[in-house]
Subunit: 625 residues, 2 copies
């Protein structure tokens, strides 16, 4: 148990919950990583679509980034309001089901769950992908490294949230400081140079005019949609409000503000410097590929130590961004399970106050996804972001409904407008992303979301049916005959002696069953009289009835089972208890040495029995502790 505690930490009492809760400083690494790291791929994704425009792309990134920042602002205000309105956790599932009904709520939940699995898989594979392109000799081990990181993140999360916050704090803040530093330094240099700075290391030159002279609306829309991947992860904080320190809602709001503020600064800085240095994205997968962030940092600071630290931090936090999914997915499962749409164990907090089952489920699903796609990010990306935007849309539509119902709230109209705008913008984005990526793999997500929805409805139906079937407010029923106890005795030894002793002390009506076949020795009458009849008479206890069963096929277990079922049929409504004497060996592998009739008997009676047949397992340990 010591190794176990070393890896997973000692168990925590329920009352230490507050100690496990997050401040702003530890909340940012836990819930903000996904959002913040999307600065590393969002603008890049938008610029990649603009490559056909050549250097003109650097012009268009300004309005696109501005729209994303504005949209981010709308989403920020919306979620700020959501946190206030749902201080015990206001994820899309809760907001959508509370305001729009069960089906939209479950739709949002399915979308979000699938997106979280993708977040975990994409984060890890992107980080490992970057590592592997830096150290090509690791390429054949891509999948193993991915799975290794997955296991590491899983163990950290099983230890609890604060452990994660502490472990991730250093790389997260190093990432924020170095990247914001690089961007700020660049902006200062650019302004000092009148908007025309000289690059320390110039970005690769491309033809001045692209293949397309001016940008079409569809191209810009696509670019905007791709850039919107910068917004994934924003949802996380509102879903995990309860993980924050008191006052939870206020702490969560502040954390959200800091995260989104930093993200906006990063997006704005990247857009400005892209324009200032005339940076054009490189087509991914081609030789000499370099990321936009790498070009910017090199242009601002050159390829010195600072460059490598900054880019190194980007790689590390990308891999760790998978953790956002681990912080949120189990909480989401908990909420769904509490409403009866997922099995009960998802609702239970484990020894470290974590929703253990959810962590396991996410680890298994993300691992399966990584294995299925061999850990290659490019194959996973088309499945990604659809779920998040669908959930955004439903959540904000839910908030619109929320304001319509709460017209007494001050400023409900403007709030509703903000949420309505957000819902409209994210709704359009959802459709654009789905259409643009459909053939490449978005169809998989489009199939998985309703499949998961149907699964949850099925679980709900089953759980409901089971709950109805066992529910009762009736008191215990003590009428009827006392139970009849049946004891199989093949050979007289301490095992059967101990079992019969218990049986005779529990019930006045005991039946001893002996199966007689050519391969087993018979129970002799003399023995029976000496071993059982006389002691019973002496103790003034009713003498058990001896029943001998014939076994032409040499079976021992099934004649006993058949006999018990027959006795139950003949004694209608009466409770029957079958005693199963069991020799418990010293080691698990000793089961190979003995006949395992006791285990077979227990399993078979449980399989074939009914509500009136109980199984009394009387163990006899070879070595007594």
């Amino acid at each position: 148990m010591n190794v176990y505690n070393l890896i997973f930490g000692k168990p925590l009492t329920s009352s230490s919950e507050s100690l496990e809760q997050l401040a702003i400083s530890s909340g940012i690494p836990v819930f903000g990583l996904d959002a913040l790291t999307s600065a590393a791929y969002g603008p890049e994704a938008a610029l990649t679509l603009l490559i056909p425009l050549g250097v003109a792309s650097a012009f268009y990134i300004i309005p696109i980034s501005l729209s994303i920042i504005v949209l981010l602002g709308i989403v920020f205000f919306s979620y700020r309001q959501t946190i206030a309105a749902y201080p015990s956790g206001g994820g899309s599932y809760i907001v959508a089901s509370a305001n729009l009904g069960m089906y939209p709520g479950l739709l949002a939940a399915s979308a979000l769950m699938i997106d979280y699995v993708l977040t975990a898989a994409v984060g890890i594979s992107a980080g490992v992908g970057a590592l592997v392109s830096a150290v090509p000799s690791l390429l054949p081990h891509t999948l193993s490294i991915c799975l290794g990181i997955l296991v590491l993140i899983t163990v950290l999360n099983l230890r609890g949230l604060r452990s994660v916050g502490i472990a991730f704090m250093v790389p997260t803040y190093l990432f924020i400081v170095t990247l914001l530093g690089a961007l700020g330094w660049g902006v200062v240099k650019a302004i000092a140079a009148g908007g025309r700075p000289t690059a320390v290391v110039a970005p690769p030159q491309v033809a001045v005019g692209g293949a397309v002279a001016t940008a079409g609306v569809w191209l810009l829309l696509q670019s905007f949609a791709s850039g919107c991947t910068a917004m994934t992860g924003v949802e996380a904080v509102s879903n995990g409000v309860r993980a924050f320190r008191e006052p939870t809602a206020r702490t969560a709001q502040r954390t959200l503000t800091v995260i989104i503020g930093i993200l906006m600064l990063m997006l704005a800085g990247i857009a400005y410097l892209t324009r200032a240095y005339h940076i054009v994205a490189a087509p991914p997968g081609k030789a000499g590929y370099q990321s936009v962030l790498s070009m910017i940092v090199a242009a601002v600071a050159g390829r010195g130590l600072f460059y490598y630290v900054t880019i190194g931090c980007v790689l590390v936090v990308l891999a760790l961004s998978a953790n956002t999914a681990f912080a949120d997915f189990p909480r989401l499962c908990h909420a769904i399970s509490r409403d009866g749409f997922l099995p009960y164990p998802f609702a239970v907090r484990g020894r470290r106050l974590v929703y253990t089952q959810g962590v396991f489920a996410l680890a298994i699903l993300a691992g399966a996804l990584l294995i299925a796609f061999r850990g290659v990010t490019d194959r996973l990306i088309p499945l990604y972001a659809i779920g998040a935007f669908l959930a955004f849309t439903l959540s904000q539509a839910g908030m619109v409904q929320h304001w319509r119902r709460n017209k007494s709230t001050r400023g409900w109209k403007s709030s509703m407008v903000i949420n309505g705008l957000g819902a409209l913008a994210t709704g359009i984005t959802t459709v654009v992303v789905l259409v643009a990526k459909f053939v490449e793999g978005a169809w998989i997500t489009a199939l998985l979301i309703p499949a998961l929805l149907l699964l949850m409805l099925g679980v709900h139906r089953k759980l409901n049916r089971a709950a109805r079937a066992v529910a009762t407010k009736a008191p215990v029923d003590l009428a009827g005959e006392p139970p009849l106890v049946i004891v199989p005795v093949q050979i007289w030894n301490r095992v059967t002696q101990n079992a019969l002793r218990l049986a005779m002390r529990l019930s006045d009506e005991v039946e001893v069953v002996h199966v007689h076949s050519e391969d087993d020795p018979p129970l002799v009458d003399d023995e029976w009289r000496e071993l059982v009849v006389k002691p019973a008479q002496k103790a003034h206890i009713p003498v058990p009835k001896l029943v001998t069963l014939k076994s032409p096929y040499r079976y021992v277990v099934s004649p006993i089972v058949d006999h018990v079922l027959e006795v139950e049929r003949k004694n209608h409504g009466r409770q029957i208890a079958l005693v199963v004497p069991e020799l418990v060996a010293n080691h698990w592998y000793d089961f190979l040495l003995h006949n395992n009739r006791a285990e077979m008997l227990k399993a078979l009676v449980l399989l074939k029995g009914n509500r009136r047949i109980a199984i009394i397992n009387v163990p006899w340990y070879l070595r007594e502790k």
Copy 2:
């Protein structure tokens, strides 16, 4: 069950044993295949070693074959005597342990068991090897075909011996008739031609003089030793006497006579024709390889339909010769298990009166061997035959001792001389085979035999210790306080209601345990009074005691286990019964839906408990049958 019966046959009653027993005609395919098919590889193995002598090898095969036939005669008379002396089964294990003691007996058993596993693996791989050299496109599927045949033979043996006898009768007799026919026809032709017949298809020519002019003693000894593989399988009948029809000993003796007679005829015919046609073995594994048997049949009858039928039969019966191991290995395990050196299940006859566990064990071991050696005969051969000859030696040494102890038997002296000669000859052969093949793989067998011996001794020690530990002739002890019954109740429903009902009917002292943690609802006092206290008072039954346990770590199962252990400690010597209410779902996969506390509780109490703690499992089936 219908498919099951179709594959494995309907169960057989013990009284139908005699119907399952073998006549001479069905005994030959069951116990004789291994011995008879060794005619296909024994002489060939001897001739292969003589290749350096060139055409002179055909001269030396006559004395070598004669010695083998003489040795076979000695062994035959020895086993004939053994069958008479041990009519209930006189395998090497029984004869050696009865006359030489436990350790020699177990040594013979280990040797024989390992040789049987090799017989199964070699037989199948040799047959498949021949098939594959005829149809080279099957080469990549060697292992799959081997395992397929293994499964087929296993299923046939699980159906019972007679099924095997009938299934194998046609190929066995076709093999005997065609091969003896070819040999007889050849001998007649040769005698008619004055000992110098003309071959229909001439065997491949080799240089008249070999690399070595005259044969050294060591070479002839090696050749003799290799040729002795023709004797493997002779043991089978004496080990399986009980499988024969009444009068068992007589039927077994006659079967042995027929098998050895045919084998001798085959060996003599092959030797004579090898000499007459000046046949020299081809080096195996070289291009254009052809077996000696193939050369002889082609020389006698040409390459017509008869040739192909004969050679085809050889291939089929080689593959089926694995079956001899299946007929004998389980019987050997049965005998060892009866003496307590193998786990009890090996001693039990299954539904078809077969020692099922032995069949499974052999199938698994032979399958593992085939997989480990990729189904290639050449790699298996060096491990083979050592076990058989070691067992021969021990068995015949045992018979020598037998005659010394039974000096009243008529002709004990001559019998002892025969057995002594046999023991000496087979003993020398064992040493020669071990030395000649040691580096190629015989060392594996030399390690496996003592390892198996040690394993059996370990099993014996463990079983003995367990038997002593549980043995008692004391009557049931009914003194002391009546048992205390503990019922965990987390929530009041039909499951717990039904369990508490049984508990209160079984014992006057019932304790209801409720684990209270923040995640579980409490059991309210009012409820308790209405549901339990009032009905108990009304029925004049003692009211159960309600115990509430605190669970700071939110565990439910382990506080109950700890409580039970504590109650047991406090009530020294008293029997405790823990009631485990269990909801049994409709489908096995439903276990994912529910908390599986009942299963965990049962397992944990069994693991941590002691002899005084019984487990009363009270199932509540969601759907009642």
